[in-house]
């Protein structure tokens, strides 16, 4: 990748950060903050995007950002108040800006009409419309004026072949302020010398006595005769930055050459040294005064530095690392952990005493490998903040589409999760938020009638809980309409009309494939996706989702996700001579069944009594096709697992080998997805073991024994009793 392409990539990354900054700032303002830093940061975000966009010639982006920036400047300077409606427009403009950034990134031309519409909306909101004649044109034209770099060919500057040399008399006389802005006459003289031959005369006429001399005062003037083939404007360019700090005159000297003998003689006589000599030497008493001054300033600076260092440290020093490198590192550490496990196993097999130096050394190695793995994983961990922030746009758009008023509250935005998990959360979260607004939050009038605040409230929260990340989406809407859900499910043939179902069972119907109640906005909640897809994508992440709902009060979806997709804590079990891993998060307990607790339900179905409840028994070996015959539970161990919605199942396995963290290896990389299996791992003996997809196995088992009902087991238990 060439440098420019790389920088462009940086630009788009930075845009994403700025857009987040912009949105969170606007939301904070909307939430009533009056921190001047907030509006400044908001302004700066747009300003930065505009600056970069200009550099890459992204015209549509520049054009829109310019108007947006102008509008924000009015708010920043207090010329217009940050009212609710202004902020709403600003937020919509932020969305437009985000769209334009995306178009630019994908190198697609955005809809000009859309930009113009938003530009006009901004202008009318901020009262800019009248001020600008043809505001769009002005916005577009101004960057052109400012930004189009003038390509200066060196040939133009230094003259084509045919240009005759011309002499100029240049006089410049610095004024007060020239030196305090770090200008340097020598440099100007040098630059003129680059253009051609120069004769320099220093005019010392105004030099005061030493006592009166201000070291930064301007007392000298220079006269230069320059013979060059460069243009007069090239000479004036040299003085570009000092035009206010000195008197400059440039005039052509007519005649063939100004280098007459007379002038040359004068030059020789002026100083038998170089131009350096024409400058004032440092002056002793002044220097002492300066030294004292410097001393006190240095102390000040040291104090200031200490203070700012504090601020710097809290921000945390960061480096940017290519993701490929991190992934390579994670892979390698995975290998290390597997290798170390293999080694431990060999040592155990060799019956070496646990107290031996070798075994203890290996324990240390295991500990160390674990720590390295954790640290490496932490590199890829990112806060959920960006994705949460993306949701505020989803909320705005969904609220607009449904004509509802909704406020989003985000908590725990700093909660960190592996990047790979975060990336795959956007779609499920988007869908659930839309769903909450579409189906959950009531229309304003209905809310008022129910004695609720007009504005609906959605809370998005993240937290760490026992080695997993929990994400909760709750709303204060009407809750699940169980009557409607049930009748819809019956109408679609998903459940038996006579089925007796608990509230929880009914709530869980919304996760069934094929279930989808009528949506007010056809394409919104949907886009052809139902909650079953949400559930499946959460499960694919090794996560689980549960729902709870209270009529009239609202609903809450709780997702529990692994912190990383790279490792997993699992229980190693034997099933029909195969070794399987059961994710520890699913397991409630393990127990040795007694035959008297097992009841046959007809067909292959069996249940086991565990304390006071009856739990369906699933023979893993049978479900996975490892054996034809059902296992004899008396020779087996039960692994009791929790499903979402508090449903439980008893998995029948032959033996439990132990627990450990395993490195997750994809089956899809070289093969494909296998039903009932979440992924694979490599055990200490170097063999591949499969990681059980508990939910899929349960679904398969349920499907085999009781096709129509999603979760009929608890209902049948009463019959047994």
């Amino acid at each position: 990748m060439d440098t420019m392409a790389a920088i462009k990539q940086t630009f788009f990354q930075e845009c994403e950060e700025q857009l987040i900054e912009l949105e969170s700032g606007l939301l904070a303002l909307d939430g009533g903050t009056s921190e001047p830093d907030t509006i400044n940061a908001v302004f700066r975000a747009v300003h930065s995007i505009k600056g970069g966009a200009g550099a890459f010639g992204l015209e549509q982006l520049v054009r829109f950002a310019h108007t947006y920036e102008t509008s924000l400047d009015l708010v920043r300077s207090g010329k217009i108040a940050a009212s609710r409606s202004i902020l709403k427009t600003m937020l919509t403009a932020a969305d437009t800006l985000a769209d334009l950034v995306r178009s630019a990134r994908e190198d697609v031309k955005a809809d000009d009409g859309e930009i113009t519409r938003m530009v006009q909306q901004l202008e009318s909101a901020c009262g800019l419309g009248g001020a600008h004649e043809a505001p769009v044109a002005a916005a577009a034209a101004e960057p052109d004026l400012d930004f189009t770099p003038i390509q200066v060919s060196l040939d133009d500057l230094f003259g084509g072949a045919g240009d005759a040399k011309q002499s100029y008399r240049v006089r410049f006389e610095p004024k007060t302020g020239f030196y305090s802005r770090a200008n340097e006459p020598l440099v100007l003289l040098r630059e003129m010398a680059r253009l051609g031959e120069t004769q320099v005369t220093c005019d010392l006429a105004k030099l005061p006595t030493l006592a009166e001399l201000d070291p930064e005062g301007a007392y000298l003037a220079w006269d230069v005769v320059l013979e060059t083939d460069a243009s007069e404007s090239a000479i004036r360019d040299i003085f570009e930055f000092v035009e206010f700090d000195c008197d400059i005159s440039v005039e052509k000297i007519e005649g063939e050459s100004a280098f007459d003998d007379d002038a040359f003689a004068r030059l020789l006589s002026l100083a038998s040294s170089d131009t350096q000599a024409a400058l004032p030497e440092p002056v002793e008493p002044v220097m002492q005064k300066i030294a004292a001054e410097v001393q006190s300033r240095n102390e000040e600076a040291a104090a200031r530095k200490a203070e700012s260092a504090k601020g710097f440290n809290t921000a945390g020093a960061t480096i940017r690392v290519d993701l490929d490198r991190v992934e390579r590192l994670i892979d390698l550490v995975g290998e290390l952990v597997i290798n170390q496990a293999m080694l431990s196993q060999r040592v155990a097999e060799a019956r070496i005493a646990r107290s031996s130096a070798l075994a203890m050394g290996l324990d240390d190695l295991e500990q160390l490998s674990r720590e390295i793995q954790d640290s490496v994983m932490a590199i890829r961990a990112q806060p959920v903040k960006p994705i949460f922030q993306r949701m505020s746009r989803v909320v705005r758009e969904a609220a607009d589409m449904t004509g509802k008023s909704v406020m989003l509250q985000c908590d725990g935005e700093a909660t960190e999760v592996d990047k790979t998990v975060i990336e795959r959360l956007t779609d499920p979260l988007t869908h659930m938020i839309r769903n909450a607004i579409d189906h959950g939050i009531e229309k304003p009038e209905a809310r008022l009638a129910a004695g609720k605040p007009e504005t609906g409230h959605i809370r998005l929260a993240a937290m760490h809980r026992s080695g997993r990340v929990v994400i909760e989406i709750s709303d204060d809407g009407g809750g699940i309409n169980r009557e409607r859900v049930k009748s819809a499910a019956i109408a679609k043939g998903l459940i038996d009309p006579d089925a007796q179902m608990s509230d929880e069972d009914i709530d869980n119907l919304i996760f069934l494939p094929g279930f989808s109640t009528a949506s007010t906005v056809a394409d919104m909640s949907g886009r052809g996706v139902g909650m079953d897809v949400v559930k499946r994508s959460i499960q694919a992440l090794g996560g689980r989702i549960t729902i709870s709902s209270t009529p009239g009060k609202g609903s809450a979806f709780v997702m529990s996700l692994p912190l990383t997709l790279a490792v997993l804590d699992g229980m190693i079990v034997s099933v029909a001579e195969e070794t399987l891993i059961v994710p520890l998060t699913a397991i409630v307990e393990t127990l040795k069944p007694s035959m008297s607790d097992i009841f046959h339900m007809g067909g292959d179905s069996r249940v086991i009594r565990i304390r006071d409840s009856f739990v369906p028994l699933i023979d893993i070996g049978h479900v996975l096709g490892y054996r034809q015959e059902m296992a004899d539970p008396s020779n087996c161990v039960i692994v009791l697992i929790d499903l979402e919605g508090q449903a439980r199942r008893a998995l029948l396995v032959d033996a439990i080998q132990g627990q450990r963290q395993v490195v997750i290896k994809s089956l899809e990389a070289n093969y494909r997805r296998v039903d009932g299996i979440a992924a694979a791992t490599i055990l200490g003996d170097g063999r591949v073991a499969l990681i059980l997809d508990v939910d899929a196995v349960v679904e398969n088992a349920d499907g085999k024994s009781n096709p129509p009902s999603p979760d009929p087991a608890p209902l049948q238990l009463e019959i047994v009793e």
């Binding site: 290896k665 494909r672 490599i682 591949v688």
Partner: protein, 153 residues
């Protein structure tokens, strides 16, 4: 393939034996040849998928080529080999009886598959070679893994 028949450019092929017959694949597709190690069976998989093995940290499927090509299933022993091949972006192990030869052939030596071939042969066989009175079938690996339609879920 037909348009290449006139070409005299040479190719290197690796020949292997399955159930007394000889087959070959392009040497460029072969990454490694290793002895048989027991594979972990995959549930709900076709009979020709023996399972998955660990190859330096990667998990790859092992296909019993005998079953895949319609012969009787291999009963692998330590003398059997797994040819590690690359098919598009995936690494796949092929269980075969033995690797028998490395052949250098010109395109002209590759004859079209005889019409009598079965459906299964048509899926995999891309041409035949006559070498020292033996017939060696050149096979393509694109369809070795189960077809993707069964992935629909």
């Amino acid at each position: 393939m037909t348009e290449k028949l006139e070409s005299s450019s040479t190719r290197e092929l690796i020949a292997f034996r399955i159930d007394g017959r000889e087959f070959c694949v392009d040497i460029m597709q072969v990454r490694d040849i290793r002895g048989w190690t027991p594979a972990t069976p995959l549930p709900h998989s076709p009979a020709y998928v023996r399972g998955v093995i660990n190859l330096r940290g990667a998990v790859l499927p092992v296909i019993d080529m005998a079953t895949r090509l319609g012969f009787k299933p291999t009963e692998p022993t330590v003398r059997h080999v797994i040819m590690v091949t690359q098919v598009e972006n995936q690494i796949i192990g092929l269980l075969v009886d033995a690797v028998s030869d490395i052949l250098t052939v010109t395109e002209a030596e590759i004859q079209p598959t005889p019409d009598v071939a079965s459906e299964l042969a048509k899926t995999f066989v891309r041409g035949v070679l006559a070498i020292d009175g033996r017939m060696i079938s050149m096979i393509a690996l694109d369809h070795v893994l189960p077809a993707h339609e069964s992935l629909a879920a």
